[in-house]
Amino acid sequence: MSDTDGVLVIGACQAGIQLACSLREYGYPDPITVVGAERHAPYQRPPLSKAVLHGETTPGALALRSEAFYADHGIALALGERITRVDRSTGVAHALSGRAFAFGRLALAVGARPRRLPVPGADLGGVLYLRDADDALALKHALANAGHVVVIGGGFIGLEVAASARRLGHRVTVALLEDRLLGRAVGEATSAFFHGAHTRRGVQVHLGVQPVQFYGDDRGNVRGVELSDGRHITADLVVVGIGAVPRTELAEQLGLDISNGIVVDAHGVTSDGTTVAAGDCVACPPPVDLPDLPARIRFESVNTAIEQAKVAAATIAGRPVPYRVVPWFWSDQFNLKLQVAGLSSGHDRYVLRGDPEMEKFAVLYYAGERLIAGDFVNRPADFLAVKAALAGGRTISPAAATDVAVPLKKLVLT
């Protein structure tokens, strides 16, 4: 192992590619190799549950960077190589294929895998998960012949797939264990809105239930689901979206601390003091100062992947900056654009701006007088105003915020 072997980034994903690009931007001079298990050129994932299923785009059109970019920036890609073993003493990572990759410094952007449903029949044909481009292509293919689509899970993946399937004209049922939709991501008012919005568009939603078993036909294809409330529903296609589990196997081999993700400090550094990590695989200190937040949070969003990757790259390049951002994310379902800024979990009150009945509203969350987060449905200018206010540590008077005649941007207190 020597420093001049450069950086090996494991994971050719949003975080991994950003990390490599940022290393070059910050002047890192040594070799950079990004190794990824998938054969596709590194691509954006968010459209996989939306535009790809609608047929508006294909995974091939979602490349993060051009081939020329990688060549021009001295970033070597090794695609279709799954790293299974990392030997720290020799500084070599070994792929399933037998290929070996020498490294001076290691960056883990290994991501997460879909959480599996451990119930009888879950291995039947037509029970699908959605994580990568091949999953999306398989799901798109299966959707072409599906009459009734059953979605297990009421998070972003589940609801985006439900919306896509409904738009394609399928019968759609969503079943989830939790008592509200999007419970990890938005407040109760926004959850209730999405429940109503999906129902109005013909999606059946069953809360507080989970599959007990799937049953199939004699060809091994799923035909129905038995739910925990005793209900049986037919299904030609089941999509399971019940969360993701961080891929921590390599971190375990390296003896790194793991706690619902690879533990990193505010600079993206793992417990060995040298390996960095970024993206869905990471449990990091909260990037904002708020009361009642857990010691570490694991995010699954584009913004987190990008910003943590920049932080990790800055650390390696010797110009460290801590991970301090306003987390944000979005979801597109039917004609509904949801945008969320900040972390609302510690709020003690909220105000509603606009009318959920009109499908155009915002929920602003406060801790005392301090604005801490917002959920926005079809109110993009409000979202941007709040994101900017939070980034600048500014607030908006809760009383004034309810007046939709005044742009929120004008109400930010300096």
Binding site: A63, W330, A381
Partner: protein, 107 residues
């Protein structure tokens, strides 16, 4: 193959060949043109691909949707009459070459 000319706020010029069907944002990001971020990938969620379009070309552009119009109200550098979000400008042979100036900041 249509070309996009990107001019930075400091006057630096980059000319990039664009694939037909790619947006001005995608063309910039994939080729490492600074000044355009495009964090959301082109779905009108982040407003970090704001550009000022060469005035002479404005009429040739596709019309703005309400969503793009609203997002432009929240860009980091205030909008001008020739502001567009470059993820909404898809390159085509009919549209031909474009020239855009990027703002001082996107986020």
């Amino acid at each position: 193959m249509p070309k996009v000319t990107y001019v930075s706020d400091e006057g630096e010029v980059r000319v990039v060949d664009s694939a037909v069907g790619d947006s001005v944002m995608q063309t910039a990001v994939r080729n490492g043109v600074p000044g355009i971020v495009g964090e959301c990938g082109g779905v009108l969620s982040c407003a970090t691909c704001h550009v000022f379009v060469d005035e002479a070309l404005l009429d040739r552009l596709p019309p703005m949707t309400d969503l793009e119009d609203e997002m432009l109200d929240g860009t980091v550098v205030d909008r001008c009459p020739n502001s567009r979000l470059s993820c909404q400008l898809k390159m085509s042979d009919e549209l031909g070459d474009l020239r855009v100036t990027t703002p001082e900041a996107q986020e």
